[in-house]
């Protein structure tokens, strides 16, 4: 690819690009007009299917294929747009919402036309306060200009777009968690099947797509599936918004063809690793996806290649760079804390497992680690998530992957840390050691030793169990 022409970001530096007037003057809503007035819904689906556009939200599921799963004889279809971008270090959807809201609305319009959905709910995370205000205004403008509402462009197609705000729960980014949350319940993911295309929000066939995925749709309609497939790497086509943050000079969001490497992102777009240091590791696509070591930074960031270095996938293409002054245990402390905080509590292996990981990693960090903790954690990580089949959604896989990758790639450093950071008193108690080693424990003696009152309870302790009633 000699010249790459950015499309998703093309209006970002235009003044007032978020207004309808400027957007229309730059050819906005022409794709929607083309689709609605000259194309059949199925033809739109076919173009998107031919382009092999893969979902940008994390899983990379082909978007057009997802649309064909809708039952043929459906009476009503709903569109849910996943704007609950809460994967740590990801902010590309926020840029799309804040800088070019009408491109997003055009994407919704075409996709709803293709899937015959007459209502679209945009589930927006609460933290995107400015994006919410901008989107509200954009929807207002689009409705007044006839791009939304009743009988759009005189074709008889109706569409309402409503914003629905989340309340700060990571799990609502999982599509069925999002649907539950939209219905006014706690955001507990559902067991699949039935998939949302068959029975989704309010028990109706529902399409759930990511913001960036929908933003690609107008360009595919405008330029055709072949143009889209001329960008990127095999099986991963099209432009992608990459975000780079962490230990880099410039934390940026850039649009590039799929398949750039982490090193290119760091050196060419983010100004290099900060303070002239070297990169020790990088997170390829949000913390759920695992960790790349310094010598794996040349792996292309696309949907396929990241399996090879043992990562879960491309995820949200949010690269976080970790410099060589940072101990890997700090990264683990952060990921374990995140997943323990965000586990929704529905499946026991995840609820308890993330909590255990958090406790174990914090204990190691605080100087109470044992070498065998690494294997215990690995065992736990291998038995957690939808890949071994013990949970409903993929959150637990996201919690397991940082541990699997870090232990596989940085075992030496972690063992060294455990050996050199021992704090007396932070480790396990003699009783815990006896139990762990399988030695016989005389619980009666221990119980008596604990229960035996040695002194009268202090006067302030009104509810001490041993206190005689006055």
């Amino acid at each position: 690819m000699a010249t790459f022409e950015p499309v998703l970001t093309r209006n970002w530096n235009v003044p007032d690009a978020r207004t309808l007037k400027v957007y229309e003057s730059r050819g906005g809503y022409q794709s929607a007009r083309k689709a609605l007035t000259t194309m059949d819904p199925d033809a739109v689906v076919n173009v998107v299917k031919d382009s092999e556009l893969r979902g940008r939200g994390g899983a990379g599921f082909p978007c057009g294929l997802k649309w064909t799963f809708l039952p043929k004889d459906r009476k009503e279809t709903l569109m849910c747009v996943n704007g609950d971008e809460s994967e740590p270090a990801t902010f590309n959807n926020r840029y799309l919402l804040e800088r070019d809201p009408h491109m997003f609305l055009e994407g919704i319009l075409i996709s709803c036309f293709a899937t015959r959905a007459s209502t679209a709910y945009v589930y927006l995370r609460f933290e995107y306060i400015n994006a919410y205000k901008i989107m509200e205004q954009a929807i207002e403008e689009a409705r007044a200009a006839g791009h939304l509402g009743k009988n759009i462009y005189g074709t008889g197609f109706n569409l309402d777009v409503w914003l629905h705000r989340g309340a700060g729960a990571y799990i609502c980014g999982e599509e069925t968690g999002l649907i539950e949350s939209l219905e006014g319940k706690r955001g507990w993911p559902r067991i699949k099947p039935p998939f949302p295309a068959i029975e989704g929000a309010f028990r109706k066939p529902t399409v759930v797509n990511n913001i960036e995925t929908l933003c690609c749709v107008p360009h595919i309609i405008e330029r055709g599936a072949n143009w889209f497939k001329s960008i990127g790497t095999p099986k991963s086509y099209g432009p992608k918004l990459y975000t780079v943050s962490g230990h880099v000079e410039k934390q940026v969001c850039v649009e590039l063809p799929l398949g750039v490497t982490t090193r290119q992102l760091i050196d060419d777009h983010a100004g290099g690793v900060w303070k002239g240091r070297k990169a020790k590791a990088a997170v390829p696509g949000g913390i759920s996806m695992g960790l790349l070591s310094a010598d794996e930074l040349d792996v292309p960031l696309d949907f396929e290649s990241l399996r090879k270095p043992g990562c879960l996938g491309l995820g949200t293409a949010a690269v976080t760079v970790i410099d060589d002054h940072t101990p890997i245990i700090d990264y683990l402390v952060n990921t374990a804390r995140f997943f323990a905080h965000e586990s929704c509590g529905q499946c026991t292996p995840c609820r308890e497992g993330t909590g255990w990981m958090n406790k174990t990693i914090h204990r190691i960090k605080n100087g109470g680690g044992r070498i065998e903790d690494l294997d215990v954690m690995l065992h736990l990580a291998n038995n957690l998530g939808i890949i071994p089949g013990t949970t409903i959604c993929g959150l637990a896989d996201g919690a397991a992957w940082p541990i699997k990758n870090a232990v596989a790639k940085f075992r030496g450093e972690l063992e060294e840390y455990i050996r050199t950071h021992q704090t007396p008193g932070a480790g396990p108690t003699p009783l815990q050691l006896d139990i762990a080693a399988g030695r016989k424990v005389d619980l009666v003696t221990i119980g008596n030793a604990i229960a035996a009152p040695t002194a009268p309870p202090p006067a302030a302790a009104l509810h001490s169990p041993g206190r005689p009633s006055a």
């Binding site: 902010f91 306060i129 109706k204 975000t243 990921t335």
Partner: protein
């Protein structure tokens, strides 16, 4: 008056005002079920009162024709809606990976120390509530903080946190909800 006349229990004063109720009910046509308005309703009440007390949940439940327990169930899942009022401005200091790598945890500690509160608490003058957050999606500003009127702060250092807190003490920047 006969002594055995039944005395009426004192009438509770409704927390939800009529305009607020109308605003909630105006959302019903958007969704196939009334229950879907739970989150928007909670947000509206929270915006209005800076908290969602238990009685407000019961009143929301009455409007949505569901049980108060169902509203409480949803509300308590998110950890976003406090039951006692928070400060005029709520500020989240991010502690997720990009911010942590650049010192987010230390900045949260610094902010709390400066205000003499713990994360999740409100200053005694009721002006600022400081909370930690998992990724705010403003990693291009990392280490970052977000005020609940939409102001974004970052990249922060200790001096930046001090300046931010001074600015936040002056109050919100968005207009108050018109209810």
């Amino acid at each position: 008056m006969p002594a055995e006349a039944p005395s009426r229990p004192p009438q509770k004063i409704a927390i939800l005002t009529e305009p607020l109720k109308e605003k909630i009910c105006a959302l019903f046509p958007r969704y196939p079920s009334k229950r879907a308005v739970t989150l928007p309703a909670l947000h509206m009440v929270h915006e209005h009162l800076r908290c969602v007390p238990i009685q407000a949940m019961a009143e929301i439940a009455e409007l949505l024709e569901i049980s108060p327990a169902e509203v409480h169930d949803t509300m308590s899942f998110y950890g976003f809606f406090p039951q006692a009022p928070i400060g005029d401005v709520r500020v989240w200091v991010c502690r997720s990976i990009s911010c942590m790598l650049r010192g987010g945890d230390e900045l949260l500690e610094h902010a709390c120390k400066r205000l003499s509160i713990h994360p999740g608490e409100t200053t005694p003058d009721g002006k600022i509530t400081v909370e930690f957050a998992e990724c705010l999606g403003i990693c291009d500003h990392a280490p970052a903080a977000l005020a609940d009127d939409g102001r974004v702060y970052g990249p922060l250092d200790e001096a930046g946190v001090d300046a931010m807190l001074d600015e936040l003490k002056k109050g919100r920047k968005d207009e108050a909800p018109h209810i």
